[in-house]
């Protein structure tokens, strides 16, 4: 017997989670199935909305003003500016104190671990004191054993980028890290736990020891930044404790994969899903689907009747009225490719692409990369369109990185598009259920 729900969301990243939450919010019975961990593990945890116009203008201080000028087919153009605002408010409500930036329409400039700054709309509370658009001087602290963040280099880079404050960087040894290639989570857990570490001064907690290592380097800066390893489950407490000991504001500089702020955001979303009664199964891919025998009338395409979920080799049908496809882009594996084609692997929805794979890229690594825009074209209701602009299925909506027509990396719009389209797709799916 098939598992039955009102709305089935496929994919458990930012877009899928948001869609599921939005649908549940409208009273639908929602299930979310996801194959693997989402792209949030890789992403910085920042919620970019729009940092640069597609033509490259920016950084944009006001992302909302620029939303009106996006080309037809851009996901934001599909859902409209108002929906983007609503989606952000929805996110702010779910995130609560964990995220900041909602007090203003303006983008913030955040220091990156590579050293420059980038525009973003919402940032984790842990980064709030680190804004580069805040003019207080800052001390950046890196660790000898963590090559991803070179604090002295980042400080010089911030200066070159024109940041309006003095930044200094120092590199110290992280107390209690004995292996040169300890995982990021090892640093976080040392700080999370009351576990003690051995230093010259005897046994202390890692927080105490870290503060003692940093203290002598302070030259009156009111804020101190670390790579984003300051705690996993107790990040707020770690930050506050370090801040109290040093008498400064402490912040995290967002990092690349594996990203603790991204994983914290994922945890936050999954907690919210559990709270709102969404049934979640992870580790199970959707592998196939069946349509109903006929469409409502002769010409319209038939709706999806059910999808097949592969649970450790057993194929289990899942049936719903409405489906949301939020399987991610090239990174999440919602869009795949072979030597001669680019495709969407579950429903084989249309993915526009050049026939010759040598037209999928340009020679400048940071040029206008066609591959970065691969994904599904959708109507204003976010329903995937076929090559002739007809509906692929009447009861399927796409959300997040599986959508095409935008380059989130160049625009700095990744999380924002996932939120806005997830929110709209979830709402519409709930509204349309029978």
């Amino acid at each position: 017997m098939a598992i039955e729900d009102d709305v089935l969301v496929i994919g458990g990243g930012l877009a899928g989670a948001t869609a599921a939450l939005a649908a549940a919010d409208r009273g639908a019975q929602v299930r979310l199935v996801s194959a693997k961990q989402s792209t949030l593990r890789h992403a910085s945890g920042l919620i970019d909305v729009l940092g640069y116009a597609p033509a490259g203008d920016g950084p944009l201080a006001d992302p909302f003003a620029a939303l009106e000028d996006l080309p037809a087919g851009h996901p934001y153009e599909r859902v409209g500016g108002e929906a983007v605002r609503e989606a952000l408010s929805f996110f702010d409500e779910i995130a609560g104190d964990a995220y900041e930036g909602g007090h203003t329409d303006a983008n913030a400039l955040v220091p990156t671990h590579g050293g420059t700054v980038k525009p973003t709309a919402r940032y984790p509370a842990s980064t709030a004191d680190g804004l580069a658009s805040d003019d207080r001087d800052a001390l950046l602290v890196g660790f000898e054993t963590l090559p991803d963040f070179d604090a002295p280099l980042a400080a010089s880079h911030l200066k070159a980028a024109g940041a309006p404050f003095e930044a200094r960087g120092v590199t110290v040894r992280f107390p209690g890290i004995v292996r040169d290639d300890a995982k990021i989570t090892r640093y976080a857990h040392l700080l999370d736990q009351p576990e003690t570490v051995r230093t010259d001064r005897g046994e202390t907690t890692a927080r105490e020891a870290l503060a003692a290592v940093v203290e002598p380097h302070l030259e009156g800066e009111p804020r101190v930044g670390f790579p984003a390893v300051l705690g996993d489950d107790h990040a707020d407490a770690v930050r506050a404790d370090l801040g109290d000991r040093l008498g400064v504001d402490v912040f995290e500089v967002p990092m690349g994969p594996p990203s603790l702020p991204g994983m914290r955001l994922e945890d936050l979303l999954y907690d919210a899903l559990a709270e709102r009664g969404v049934r979640v199964t992870t580790g199970v891919p959707v592998v196939d689907y069946e349509t109903a025998a006929d469409g409502p009338d002769g010409n319209a395409p038939p709706p999806i009747d059910h999808v097949i979920v592969d649970r450790n080799g057993t194929e289990i049908p899942h049936r719903a009225d409405q489906y949301v496809l939020a399987t991610g882009g090239l990174v999440g594996k919602g869009v795949e490719s072979e030597r001669g084609r680019v495709f969407e692997p579950i429903f084989d929805c249309h993915v526009p692409h050049a026939a010759d794979r040598y037209d999928w890229f340009v020679d400048d690594v940071f040029g206008d990369q066609p591959y970065a825009q691969f994904g599904l074209p959708v109507d204003r209701d976010l329903r995937p369109l076929d090559a002739d602009d007809g509906l692929e299925f009447p009861n399927l909506r796409g959300a997040g990185a599986v959508l095409g027509g935008y380059d989130f990396a160049a625009e700095k719009s990744g999380a924002g598009v996932s939120l806005a389209t997830g929110y709209v797709a979830g709402q519409r799916a709930a509204e349309e259920r029978q």
Binding site: G51, L131, S133, D148
Partner: protein, 569 residues
């Protein structure tokens, strides 16, 4: 008139570096100039096969004999650059029995140890061979790291007093009547190690004798002194897989052909190649069908290649040469032998010889012959020692390996580092400082990167060829930035940024030929990391436009903060 140097070698490929080492060891004063990094020419764009000679055992037995001799010498003097993989010449059902027999006889005639394996024995050695392969000949082919070997020659030349200048392009030959007495070079960033963002200079270097070892570019050098050198550059493609589908060199046992060999190399397997004449060694088409041909044709031998992930493709140009009047049509028929052109005998212009053609495997023997010639010209009486003296990194390797510890590294990292560094491992890896891994794919630690930086200035491609950092699956997406950081604070932030951009762009260049499937996903991940997370594509520091920071969100207003007042608590 006193000259700057006794011998000036042009070109920092295997031939040039081999000659520089040979002559320096004979006590001559040597200077070598190379327009890019060492190995920037054909040497850094070859297949990595240490020939047993098997490939030439039917068509060119003189070359085959020389290959097996040099193969055995390089295993001794350059053990840390060679992997003794062994090789197979594999016959498919449709391949000729006669040719198989000729190959076997040829190997025996040339002194190449050869043994016949049945199809099932061959598949025991290499389980991914096609089910229907008929039989195979086993020969002592090997895999060789051209970067490491070339750099080791250059280092040893320097140890023996040579001056090695990279990023020094020859822009003119100095000719006085019928005598060539030196060159004019343009230093990319002044003499010595390269530093980005340093203005270039030019320099005249005079010499008693000039050796033109610029391979496929030898004709361009000759033209600077109105000498005609008929190099016929011929390109070949190589496609790199992300894992080693085979641990043995796999050759197709049939007469010449495209796409007939797979060479395991470090963590990868490299498919090759083609042979097609081009007019300009710096500018020739690199086409997708060539990559397709590698995968499709070699899948006949190793079927899983058709589904496997490739991480990049690259092309090299062979410096083929034939004496005027030979007129061979098909470049595959041009001899692989090398030619020493003494321009005094040939053109009546003294002071310079050019070397063209040849193979990487026989670079040492070529260098010996040329060095003999140079010594004769200069009236020097000194004999060659390169066949006996191990290269730096390969001294007393067995004894050292037994005694070496793991330098506090995880064992897979330690093992790979020691393989790359050979007997230099202790010097490089022994450190009291923390030594984290900088490149995860290839297991390269900070100490090894720092060692390479100390040899090559701010040029990260030079660091790459010395260490393999950024050459694995992620193609630098995850480690380029970390490599660049290692340049700081010796080099300033702007230099570091330029060096990083250059490496990242170089990595992209080869990756473009592998953009489908997993590698396209990897490319998107790399792009997202560098553009979305780091904003390296629109970095205000590089864009040169001032950003109005005050127009952006500077944080919640004071009274509104969740965690109390700002700053100094």
């Amino acid at each position: 008139m006193a000259r700057d140097t006794a011998v000036l070698v042009l070109g920092g490929g295997s031939t040039g570096c081999g000659i520089a080492r040979d002559l320096a060891m004979r006590g001559l004063d040597v200077t070598l100039v190379e327009r890019g990094n060492l190995t920037d020419g054909t040497t850094g764009r070859m297949h990595g096969l240490l020939h047993s000679g098997g490939r030439y055992a039917v068509s060119d037995q003189a070359s085959a004999t020389e290959c097996i001799e040099e193969n055995e010498i390089l295993r001794e003097i350059a053990g840390h650059c060679v992997e003794e993989t062994g090789g197979l010449f594999v016959q498919r059902p449709e391949d000729s029995d006669d040719y198989f027999r000729e190959k076997l006889e040829g190997c025996r005639e040339c002194g190449i140890p050869a043994r016949v394996l049945s199809g099932s024995e061959a598949r025991e050695v290499e389980p991914y061979l096609a089910d229907d392969v008929k039989r195979a000949i086993e020969v002592p082919d090997g895999a060789v790291d051209p970067f490491r070997l070339c750099v080791a020659n250059a280092i040893d030349a320097e140890t023996h007093g040579a001056r090695v200048e990279t990023h020094a392009e020859v822009i003119d030959l100095l000719r006085d009547g019928d005598d060539i007495y030196g060159v004019e070079v343009r230093h990319d960033s002044g003499p010595g190690k390269r530093t980005h963002a340093t203005p270039g200079t030019t320099e005249e270097i005079t010499a008693d004798y000039v050796v033109n070892a610029t391979g496929a570019w030898a004709g361009q050098i000759g033209a600077m002194a109105d000498l005609e050198i008929e190099v016929r550059p011929s390109k070949g493609v190589m496609t790199i897989m992300n894992v080693r589908q085979v641990d043995t060199v796999i050759n197709r046992c049939r007469p010449k052909g495209d796409a007939d060999i797979v060479v395991p190399h470090e963590t990868t397997a490299i498919l090759g190649t083609t042979d097609e004449e081009v007019s300009d060694p710096d500018d020739y088409p690199e086409a997708g069908w060539e990559v397709d041909q590698m995968i499709d044709t070699l899948s006949e031998l190793v079927p899983i290649l058709s589904e496997a992930r490739t991480i990049r493709s690259f092309w090299g140009v062979r410096p083929l040469y034939e004496p005027p009047g030979t007129g061979t049509q098909d470049p595959t028929d041009i001899t692989r032998d090398f030619f020493l052109l003494d321009h005094a005998d040939r053109d009546g212009v003294s002071g310079m010889s050019s070397i063209v053609g040849g193979k990487f495997t026989t670079y040492r023997a070529m260098a010996e012959e040329i060095s003999d010639h140079v010594c004769e010209q200069l009236g020097v009486n000194a004999s060659c020692a390169t066949a006996e003296e191990p290269l730096p990194g390969s001294e007393n390797i067995e004894r050292l390996e037994a005694g070496m510890d793991d330098f506090g590294l995880r064992s897979p990292v330690a093992r790979r580092s020691k393989q790359r560094l050979g007997s230099r491992a202790c010097d490089v890896l022994e450190t009291d400082e923390p030594n984290p891994v900088i490149c995860q794919c290839e297991g390269v630690t900070r100490a090894e990167i720092q060692d390479a930086v100390s040899q090559s200035g701010s040029d990260l491609n030079a660091v790459r060829i010395r260490t393999r950092a950024s050459m694995g699956n992620c193609q630098g997406g995850f480690c380029c930035g970390n490599m660049a950081s290692e340049l700081h604070p010796t080099h300033d932030e702007e230099t570091v940024r330029e060096a990083l951009d250059e490496l990242f762009q170089e990595r992209w260049k080869g990756e473009r030929h592998a953009l489908w499937g997993e590698q396209l996903s990897q490319a998107m991940l790399n792009y997202a990391l560098h553009a979305a997370t780091m904003n390296r594509d629109r970095d205000p520091a590089s864009a040169g436009e001032d950003v109005d920071f005050a127009a952006f969100d500077g944080g919640r207003p004071e009274g509104d903060r969740v965690d109390g007042p700002r700053g100094a608590r």
